[in-house]
């Protein structure tokens, strides 16, 4: 980054020297050093160490063995599928529910302040705290959720102990915790829409539904892009909630790539753990880059 500072100052001299010094290149330095040393360097190092058997002191180059092992183990494949499933479910639900809540909360509704606070509140509670609370609430026989369902004569499922359900239960809790942030972003998006558009639509005789479909929805595209990108990336990386609630269980039923990375790290398989990191990195690149390009291109049409 020092190189950046030097060249740009030279390139601008001497006519714009004064302006160049008002915005000095060294302002990048503190951030650049921390970012380069603690983020970029490890990321590049991971490309090498994922190809080794590694003890942190010694590393033996073994080629693509770690990746071969990663894709040979059925439970690791399961983790990969779970990760994508989890990200799609959580970000999809956050978009739909967040948008609906934001539209409701920007309309003339009673107790608006209360509703806003209540929906945002889970964002403040730590993921571990939320995980522990819902683990207790979702207990198959003694949890409040199933005890309440039993009052209505419904036999509640084993939310976290049924291998077919565990991942979805954790995803629901994730939505419960994260939808407040999506709602705030959407509220900001709705508030930013100029009132003229609705007036024009009213003169044209638009119904409420048409208002939403042709004015609100397209003009909220930037907010939607933000919510989808943030929650989708968050979903792909998810670790803490899974770890607090199921530790990837029962069996490997709710393992995600991130929890597999932690398990391999704990077991001392550093090379394999780092290979998992590279797999996650590639997965995010393959899914998120086209997604953001799509979202931004649509934005350009307006």
């Amino acid at each position: 980054m020092t190189a950046i500072a030097a060249t740009t100052v030279e390139g601008k001299a001497p006519a714009r020297k004064r302006r160049g010094s008002t915005y000095p290149g060294w302002f990048f330095l503190p951030a650049a050093i921390i970012y380069a040393v603690l983020f970029l360097a490890p990321t590049f190092a991971s490309l090498y160490f994922s190809l080794t058997r590694w003890t942190l002191f010694d590393s033996v180059f073994i080629g693509l063995d770690n990746f071969a092992q990663f894709f040979r183990e059925p439970f690791l494949i399961r983790g990969l599928v779970n990760t994508v499933l989890y990200a799609v479910i959580t970000s999809g639900l956050k978009v739909v529910i967040g948008m609906a809540l934001a539209i409701m909360l920007t309309s003339q509704i009673v107790a608006r302040g209360y509703l806003r606070s209540v929906i945002f509140f889970p964002v403040l509670v730590s993921t571990v705290g939320v995980g522990i609370t819902f683990t207790v609430l979702m207990h198959p026989t003694q949890g409040i959720i199933n005890e309440t369902l039993a009052l209505f004569g419904i036999a509640g499922p084993g939310w976290l102990v049924d291998p077919r359900l565990a991942l979805f239960s954790v995803a629901l809790v994730d939505v419960w915790k994260g939808v407040g942030l999506a709602t705030v972003i959407y509220i900001a998006g709705v508030v930013a829409i100029p009132k003229d558009y609705y007036e024009a639509a009213r003169i044209d005789g638009a119904t409420k539904w048409q208002n939403f479909l042709y004015v609100t929805l397209p003009l909220m595209r930037p907010a939607t892009a933000t919510v989808i990108t943030l929650s989708f990336i968050g979903g792909l990386r998810t670790f803490d909630l899974i770890w607090a609630m199921t530790k990837g269980g029962p069996g490997f039923a709710s393992d995600t790539v991130a929890s597999v990375i932690y398990k391999q790290y704990q077991a001392g398989f550093y090379g394999l753990s780092t290979a998992g990191n590279v797999v996650l990195f590639v997965l995010i690149a393959i899914l998120v880059v086209p997604l953001t390009m799509f979202l931004n291109r649509k934005q350009g049409h307006e």
Binding site: Y23, F39, T43, A45, L124, I144, N277
Partner: protein, 275 residues
């Protein structure tokens, strides 16, 4: 008719949010008031006696006041990293928004990469060990800064673009040097985004579980989230203590939120959505 419909809708919304959002919190609070025996039932009952203070004291004393140490550690990490984040990210956002050079695309690419790429955990531990920062509070602070810089920079850059350049130029004519322009003219004007940044980042860093789990092992430097997590396995039957713990560590984020509540949406409008 219309008013009646919206009133009914409002009441329905209040009931729905009460069941979905409020009851879990009431559950946490009620559990924190119970004694060990009653809390073991894990039901939604009224506490038989007022045991909150006993629970708080017992949580505090557990494992040689570990909870207190953890609170201090978490607070230091949060305050220090948020301070560094605000200053460093605003500096980058300022120059990035004001000066067009051929390096800008590269810097912008690195920022986006920082948002998307998952940190390479074990190589980072290896780097931290090389710097003698592994398992230290300082190392943890720098990690939080490195991981959260991209988001902060994006917020700042979008907002700085809305501040007219005349401001900088007027200050320069008055004889201000770059540091004066930044710290005395620009930074104060960035307050709305700074608030958003402080709220989002401090809540995120205080509640961070994954990074301390990897980079801050050992009991001496435990953070509140790690303490809570270990608490869960140690006191798997003492639900009163477990939920008192959850209640206690939710207080600091709640205070931050109550302080800045009104300004959050304003900051989001300025930064995230336009960006």
């Amino acid at each position: 008719m219309k008013h009646r419909a919206s009133l009914l809708g409002g009441i329905a919304a209040i009931i729905a949010t009460f069941v979905v959002f409020v009851i879990p919190f009431l559950f946490i609070i009620l559990m924190a008031f119970k004694d060990r025996q009653q809390s073991a039932l894990r039901d939604f009952s009224w506490p038989a006696g007022f045991h909150l203070w006993d629970n708080v004291v017992e949580v505090g004393q557990t494992r040689n006041w570990m909870m207190i140490t953890a609170f201090i550690n978490s607070s230091i990490i949060t305050v220090a990293s948020v301070t560094l984040l605000v200053v460093f990210a605003a500096m980058v956002g300022f120059v990035l928004a004001r000066r067009r050079t051929r390096w800008n695309p590269l810097i912008e690419f690195l920022i986006l990469a920082g948002l998307m790429v998952p940190p390479a955990v074990v190589p980072t531990i290896w780097v931290l060990q090389g710097l003698k920062l592994f398992g230290t509070i300082h190392g943890m602070i720098l990690i939080e800064v490195a991981y959260n810089l991209p988001f902060s920079i994006i917020l700042y850059r979008a907002f700085i673009a809305t501040i007219p350049r005349d401001m900088d130029e007027a200050a320069v004519i008055d004889g201000a040097r770059p540091l004066d322009v930044f710290f005395r003219v620009i930074l104060p004007m960035l307050w709305p985004v700074t608030v958003t940044n402080i709220v989002v980042q401090s809540v995120g860093i205080f509640n961070d579980f994954t990074n301390p789990l990897y980079y801050l092992p050992g009991n001496a430097n435990a953070t509140v989230q790690l303490t809570l997590f270990n608490f869960q396995s140690q006191f798997s039957t003492a639900y009163n203590l477990l939920f008192t713990n959850i209640l206690l560590i939710t207080i600091p984020p709640l205070i931050v939120f109550l302080f800045f509540n009104r300004q959050i949406v304003a900051g989001m409008t300025a930064g995230a959505v336009k960006g």
